[in-house]
Amino acid sequence: MSSHGRPLSPHLQIYRPQLTSLLSVTHRGTGVVNTIGTVLLAYWLIALARGPESYAEAQAFFDFWLVKLALFGWTFSVFYHLCNGIRHLFWDAGLGYDIPTLYKSGYLVLAMACVLTVLTWLLV
């Protein structure tokens, strides 16, 4: 890449963040966070496969408050990516591109992700 010296767009230093751009970059961020979180899923399955003792150890691990906090964050990340992913699928179908709808669907995604996360942890 010989892009040095050429102007880049968008100019991140002077770019005013807005809901649309923030939700967009959060979709990528949560995708990466979800992927990192699958290591916990793998640990859970490995512990289960290795038998009752290691499963008991895993249960103690998942009961630790810091791990629970991470799981809470992961739950939100998963639900956000799921809800905003559905928003993306509507765009792929050519729907919802006008600015008022973009903002409405954006706020709806944020609200749904919060509601689903809290609901999940209330049911636990």
Binding site: M1, S3, R28, G31, V32, N34, T35, T38, V39, L41, A42, L45, I46, L48, A49, G51, P52, Y55, A56, T75, V78, L82, G85, I86, H88, L89, D92, T120, L123, V124
Partner: protein, 126 residues
């Protein structure tokens, strides 16, 4: 009049010579993951606090085991495709990009294999 050759048009691969395969598979796996992830979260809520035998019995049910294996395969494939786009967009040094891409893809398919093998061990174990 288009300047593209009839062969290029018929192949439909575009300027990057890759076509829409990656884009399309990412969407198909996304659609599949919506019900699968909701099912998994719902199942995990029911399994929290359950002892080893209860979780094992749940996983031994053919429908649970089958859905779990399908979820894992699609999930890690979707993750591999997503990581690929992020790496392509933000890593521009060719050597670094190739290396990180290989590590990321290998990690995804290794995790998929470990997870599926663990499910099978539980489901088929004595």
């Amino acid at each position: 009049m288009s300047l593209r050759t009839p062969l290029a048009r018929a192949k439909g691969l575009g300027s990057a010579h890759e076509g829409v395969g990656h884009w399309w598979v990412q969407r198909v796996t996304a659609v599949a993951l919506v019900p699968l992830v909701l099912w998994m979260v719902w199942s995990l809520i029911g399994l929290i606090g359950a002892d080893y035998a209860a979780v094992r019995d749940w996983m031994r049910h053919p429908i649970n085991g089958g859905l779990l294996v399908v979820l894992l395969l699609i999930l890690f494939h979707h993750a591999a495709l997503g990581l690929q786009v992020v790496i392509e967009d933000y890593l521009h040094a060719e050597g670094v990009k190739l290396f990180v891409m290989a590590v990321a893809k290998f990690a995804m398919y290794l995790l998929a294999a470990i997870c599926v093998f663990s499910v099978l061990l539980v489901a088929l174990g004595g």
